[in-house]
Amino acid sequence: MIRLLFLLCLVAMPAFAADELHLYNWNNYIAPETIDRFEAYCRCKVIQDYYSDNEELLAKLAAGAKGYDILVPTGNALASLVRQGALLPLDKKLIPNLKNVNPAYLNTPFDPGNRYSVPYAYTVTLIGYNVEKMRQLGLPTDTWAVIFEPKYLARVKGRVTVLDSQRELMAAALKYLGYSANDTVEAHWYRAQQLILRAKPYWAAFNSSSYIKELTVGNIWLVHGYSNDMFQAQNDAKAAKRKFTIGFSIPKEGAVLALDNMVIHKYAPRPDLAHKFINFMLDGRNSSELTNMIGSGNPNLAALKYINPEIASNPAIFPRKEELGKLEMLQDLNMEQRRVLNRLWIKIKIE
């Protein structure tokens, strides 16, 4: 009996003694080799948990989840966490690698002065397309007009999907109309709604989940979606040796940029490890591995030299300076605005 207890203690001991970092991250949003290297570096174990959208993260924390050290919220979710006082201020002395971050991605309205957050990676919401079909049909690929104007859409009727997201689709329509993606003037929203309703009969679906596959197999020719998804579709089509290629580009009118940030939760059990992790991830090579894996945008200047040149030279993943100025991060709406927008959206979905 005593021997059994002793054995049990031996088995259980590492579980108590080992240093653990709890990372609550997006699905598929860190390279496995990066984790391995961090574990070796800090002699600890990284335990990951995943979410698939910001709402899920916010809901879980709102329900009282504790025990996470690092979270990776997008801009507007970050703002909400900051306002709720759910985050631990960063000790910048412990993050010397902060100097590697491109200043263009620092000091966002979501966390002025980066008291709580450090940029991790970003995606751009843009248009992806079947290059050969677009050429064959003589359609432009540098403007939102191709998604919204019936004169173009008539040629790709039933072969287009747009994101099933109020904010993203409205932002694209607002951008096309020349407004800011964060415009909250109701008359402008109404115009955007009319634009969407006029284009809707030509679209096949509102789709946020399976458009990668539909694009890859050639059922859909033109989609409104996220840059890293397009990167995946492009690679999948290549790997499957399709007769066509997938391209993606940022429309000239501008688009939405979603910046994900590393933050430390207020109830983090190990803020020391969390700071270590943040500094580690801001190292150029460590940061580059995610970009090479999923084609996400990278706000880290030191990472550029490690990034696959094909990705680094793609202006849809690394926007040029003049394009960067036209990209906007979505800000959170208040309850009243959300209701107005939601009502416009219901009309769009049901009519």
Partner: protein, 296 residues
Amino acid sequence: MAKNFGKWLISGPPVLYLIVFFVIPTCIMVLASFRYAGEYGGLAPVLLRDASGAHLNLTLESYQEFFSDFIYSWLFIKTLIYALVTTFFCLLMAYPLALLIARSASKYRDLLVLLVILPFWSNFLIRIYAWMILLGPQSAFSAALNGFLGIFGVGPVRLLFTPFAVVLCLIYVQLPFMVLPLYANLEKHDPALLDAAQDLGANGWQRFWRVTFPLSLPGIYAGIALVFVPVLGIFAVPDILGGTRGIMIGNLIKQEFLEARDWPFGSALSIMLTIGAMIIVGGAALFAGRRRKGDV
């Protein structure tokens, strides 16, 4: 006493389970539908405290919103039509199938029933994604159908991302729920009844309509309830296959809770749906009850 205790021991846990996970959440949802939405999502507090003391912070605005625009009622009606069509075709296809199983040799029956429930062994979502491939423009199924239609000079039709795809998949998903109660009922029929009817001169058609069918009515009602009610709330099928025109009330409820972060309105929609389903099922039960009484 001991006997009662045993009874409670057995039925207590499921009753408790239903109270904790069904009755209480339903009450919470009813309350939520009268509350204000919180600034960051969730719900605003029920009690507001100010200088004059605490007062209730409740509202009817979610229900006012529901009745202010016909668009919501229209979505209910549309969902109802989808559910009715689905139930009708499920019944049409399940009845002969259940009858076939019930009348086949007893050594095959278990195997046939097993085949009916076999699809449940693979994940619901995977089966819907499979339909996406089947209905896609490049699938053999689409090609064959369009080739057939081409003979009659009807242009190629698109299957994926249409209301047709939604209803087709709903029928596919719900069919076993119609087959099983029907089979359970039909299997118990005494074959001697049919022999007796035959001896009295009834032909095959009459034997079905005057013996088998009336006896199977409880199975039909059970099947209809099992198919109709879940379809009212479904959202995954229209989400994946529905395209721009296939949305149902379940999608709207999901959207209110997740994207719009308007829990009160989402709750109000859920409650309206529950009430609607209860009226329909209650009405049908009443109708069926009256019929049965009339038969006696």
